[in-house]
């Protein structure tokens, strides 16, 4: 789906016209392409007084990635990213200095720049500490809304006992700095443990992993398959038999294999297992992407519009995940990602069935986290906002235009933005991220 408006206001005469008229000008987002630099300029690392050690550690990490790291900024400096380390904050007052420093250089942030906060979860901390930590949540979400020109602001939240050198801290930081997180904005992602490991090759972190992607024939699912394959995974593309032709094209494109399967079948897990067992021996990554919409006001809802939505969107992931956990085909560090939706978080008129299923997915993910952790793995959800797909293309023009602009980035996301988030969550460097819901919504106005 092409965002004509976005193209118009960013090119040629119409760009000039849009500037004169003061029309909102959504930026062309900085998206990852293999070989691109991680960020577009130097990285400024700021911290509160109590976070010196953590800031040093992170700066060291950035230097390890061959980045130009600055510890002090001036108003005239142009930074590609600003890392705000606030892990040591003991009271709300501690936030002022580092954040004001940040604010001082914000105007110089490069297009497609990044602001990343690093903090600790409030948890059972003392009230003042918790206030400071929770305050960061508010700061980040507000700051993200100030950013322009495709820049984003996101936070890394360290869970209890998680050290700054946990692999997933570096992994998440790298994801948030990179073009892979282009449409992730205003989000805080919690690192729950020190699990996971850094990949040998950041461009192919999924090398040797076997992934199953459901609903892979089209749209986001197809893009997930492509992205996982790009990152090194062997992809088993799954979709209903009726979509088999498109599925075959995707499978062949990514040099994977196609499995025509209705995920609501009783024996779906068995069929997936059988396919993967014989071909690859094990299964490492499972992406429950298959989903359907049957929008109706609840007042008009019928079993035939309610039941299938629940069956495909949440019952199937539940059953397949459980069967895989019960079976013996999962690899040593399995990763499961479910597709939730902002509708599941904020609700949407006419989507009681869909929201039930997608909120259900979130419940499932949170409740399954410990079981997956027990298996050495993780389970997370990605909640896409307005994504330009075949499905959203069917929304009436005016509604689509509004929906598209209702976020901090003033545009709809691309399927690949969702796919990038998923590729990150299933990567070894995300091993400490478990039971989380990562929104890929450009900081949609609704919900969190």
């Amino acid at each position: 789906m092409t965002d004509t408006y976005l193209n118009l206001v960013n090119t040629g005469f119409t760009k000039t016209l849009a500037q004169r008229l003061g029309l909102p000008r959504p930026a062309v987002l900085r998206r990852h392409r293999p070989g691109d630099p991680l960020v577009t300029g130097p990285v400024l690392v700021v911290h509160d007084a109590g976070s010196q050690a953590e800031a040093d550690a992170l700066a060291e990490q950035l230097l390890g990635w061959d980045l130009d790291v600055h510890r002090h900024g001036n108003r005239d400096d142009r930074f590609g990213a600003i890392l705000v380390v606030l892990t040591g904050a003991q009271a709300p007052a501690d936030l002022g200095a580092p954040l004001l420093t940040t604010g001082g250089v914000l105007r110089g942030l490069a297009p497609g720049g990044r602001v990343v906060t690093v903090s600790r979860a409030p948890g059972d901390a003392a009230p003042a500490v918790a206030a400071a930590r929770q305050g960061i949540d508010g700061v980040l979400r507000s700051l993200a809304k100030e950013l322009r020109r495709g820049a984003t602001g996101n936070g890394i939240v360290l869970g209890d006992g998680v050290e700054i050198d946990a692999p997933s801290v570096a992994g998440t930081l790298r994801f948030l700095l990179s073009g892979r997180s282009a449409f992730v904005d205003g989000q805080l992602l919690t690192i729950g443990s020190g699990a996971g490991e850094l990949p040998a090759d950041w461009e192919r972190p999924l090398e040797g992993q076997v992934a199953v992607v459901t609903g892979a024939a089209r749209g986001i699912g197809a893009e997930i398959a492509r992205t996982l394959a790009r990152d090194g995974a062997t992809v088993v593309a799954v979709d209903v038999p009726a979509a088999g032709d498109a599925l075959a094209a995707v499978a062949n494109e990514v040099h994977g294999s196609a499995l025509q399967l209705d995920v609501t079948r009783e024996d779906a897990a068995e069929r997936i297992t059988e396919h993967v067992r014989s071909r690859h021996g094990q299964l490492d990554l499972v992406i429950h992407n298959a989903g359907i919409l049957r929008d109706k006001l609840l007042a008009n809802m019928k079993p035939e519009t309610w039941d299938p939505v629940l069956a495909v969107n949440v019952t199937a992931p539940l059953r397949i995940t459980q069967a895989l956990l019960d079976g013996d085909q999962l690899g040593t560090a399995p990763r499961v990602v479910c597709l939730a939706s902002t509708s599941g978080i904020a609700g949407n008129r006419g989507q009681t069935n869909y929201a039930a299923s997608k909120a259900g997915v979130i419940g499932m993910v949170r409740a399954s986290a410990s079981a997956l952790e027990g298996a050495g793995g993780t389970i997370n959800a990605v909640a896409p906002g307005f994504i330009e797909t075949d499905m959203t293309a069917r929304i009436p023009f005016a509604t689509r235009e509004v929906a598209r602009r209702l976020n901090s980035l003033q545009q709809g996301g691309q399927p690949r933005d969702v796919a990038e988030a998923i590729a990150f969550l299933v990567s070894p460097q995300a091993g400490g991220v478990n039971g989380q819901v990562l929104r890929v919504c450009g900081q949609n106005m609704v919900g969190q």
Binding site: P241, G244, A248, G256, A258, Q260, H280
Partner: protein
């Protein structure tokens, strides 16, 4: 592997071709296995594939197979495929389809044509190459379009045009052109008529049907069963890993799940109307003209194992047969009935030693006539040179997932459909289970084969 066996010997005590050679012990060829198959749904002539060429459809079927088995970019040993109705530009149909597919462009391919047995014969050729160790893997295929059938100019016009192309001087050219008459311009489309007899396949079968006294009721029952069984197989998801949709079609367009013997009984006969006996063959108990393509992935055990691919069945042995239909001695489509006893003898099997029978339903009556022949003491003795009747088969084992009457019959694609379907059935049935295939073909031919669960 059956080279030393006496043709026609009824009781073979030696090892059967299929049960040996799995490991390649050096003395006998190794076995060739069916890994799986893929076809596109079969459409009715003039339906959704009306603008699809043979190459389009074969490429689609190949791509679906490649996707199913993760072969994108791989060099497969060889691809063999063919079509019955073929444009002259499609002289390299198989290779051109490979070049358009996701397979490695370094995959060689060759064309085969043996009328409706084309699909079977591609399996035979590649199986033999695999057994001999010449290739490790192969894709057998077949395709046919009755919607995009080649139309040729009349013989008279063709002769003139060829003369024109050879003419050198303007006078010669003018002379050639001046020979063209309006009547020459009528194109001639291919027919299903047998060149030597001028009778269509249906008319031929009608003769056999009448001669063997096959009733309308029996034919309609077989046709209804074919539809019901195919529909049930779809509903069970049996074809989920045998078929890839194409051009919006997800099931065979000819399939009528709700048909019944009563509904079929209402159809008017279309063949055998000028015979002395009542005509019994209708559009309902005959296959319609169809468009479609099928493929089968064949391999050595080692190749399949390397890729973790399933091994569904072994192609144990095959036999081609032909009958003298032109002199009215045998029915055009009865060659399978003649070839099967030879195949059985070579493998030391009886007709009843099978778990499944796949007899191509060119017409319902074709299947019934085949069965009647095997049950006939007289026919088996006099025409087949046997000691007695081969006997009857358990009809519940026959075409258990439906056959051509329901699915349709794009001529060269039928062999691949049947081989893949039977191979999957055998795997489900379990080790040692065995199936018999018989596919009749124009020209009084047939190719029959034994498959065994691998």
């Amino acid at each position: 592997m059956a080279a030393a066996r006496t043709p026609g010997s009824q009781t073979s005590s030696g090892p059967t071709p299929g049960s040996t050679g799995a490991g390649g012990d050096g003395s006998s060829p190794r076995r060739a296995v069916v890994v799986g198959g893929n076809r596109i749904p079969f459409a009715r002539s003039g339906g959704p594939y009306v603008r699809a060429s043979n190459q389009d459809m074969l490429t689609a079927a190949l791509d679906g197979l490649v996707a199913r088995f993760g072969l994108a970019g791989e060099r497969v040993g060889e691809v063999a495929a063919g079509a019955v109705l073929k444009h002259s530009k499609d002289f390299n149909l198989a290779r051109e389809s490979v070049l358009g597919s996701a397979l490695s462009p370094e995959t060689p391919a060759y064309d085969v044509q043996q009328a409706c047995a084309t699909g079977m014969e591609t399996v035979v050729g590649l199986t033999n190459k695999i057994r001999l160790g010449q290739i490790e893997s192969g894709i057998a295929g077949g395709v046919d379009s009755t919607s995009d059938a080649p139309i040729v100019v009349s013989d008279a016009l063709r002769t003139i045009l060829l003369d024109l192309s050879r003419a050198k001087t303007p006078q010669q050219k003018l002379k050639a052109v001046s020979r063209i008459r309006p009547g020459h311009l009528a194109p001639s489309a291919p027919t299903t008529g047998e060149p030597r007899t001028g009778l269509s396949m249906g008319e031929h079968q009608a003769l056999t049907t009448a001669a063997m006294g096959i009733t309308r009721e029996a034919q309609d029952e077989l046709a209804a069963a074919s539809h019901h069984r195919l529909a049930a197989a779809y509903d069970d998801g049996f074809f989920d890993d045998l078929l890839t949709p194409y051009r919006g079609l997800t099931r065979d367009a000819n399939l009528r799940a709700d048909t019944s013997v009563e509904k079929l009984a209402k159809l008017k006969p279309v063949f055998g109307k000028h015979l002395e006996t009542p005509a019994t063959m209708t559009a309902g108990n005959s296959t319609p003209l169809s468009d479609g393509a099928s493929t089968v992935l064949l391999a050595s055990d080692a190749w399949a194992a390397e890729r973790g691919l399933p091994v569904l069945a072994t192609v144990v042995d095959v036999e081609a047969g032909a009958v003298d239909f032109a002199h009215g001695r045998d029915g055009l489509l009865m060659a399978g009935a003649h070839a099967v006893p030879r195949l059985l003898a070579r493998n030391g099997l009886s007709l009843q030693d099978f778990d499944y029978y796949e007899i191509h339903e060119a017409f319902a009556a074709t299947v019934l006539c085949n069965l009647a022949i095997w049950e006939s003491e007289e026919y088996c003795r006099e025409r087949l040179g046997l000691d007695g009747a081969l006997g009857s088969i358990d009809r519940s084992k026959l075409n258990v997932h439906g056959s051509s009457l329901a699915a349709g019959h794009p001529f060269a694609a039928t062999g691949g459909r049947i081989v893949a379907t039977l191979a999957k059935q055998l795997t489900a049935k379990g080790p040692g289970s065995r199936g018999l295939i018989s596919v009749c073909a124009a020209g009084g031919q047939a190719v029959v084969a034994i498959l065994e669960a691998a």
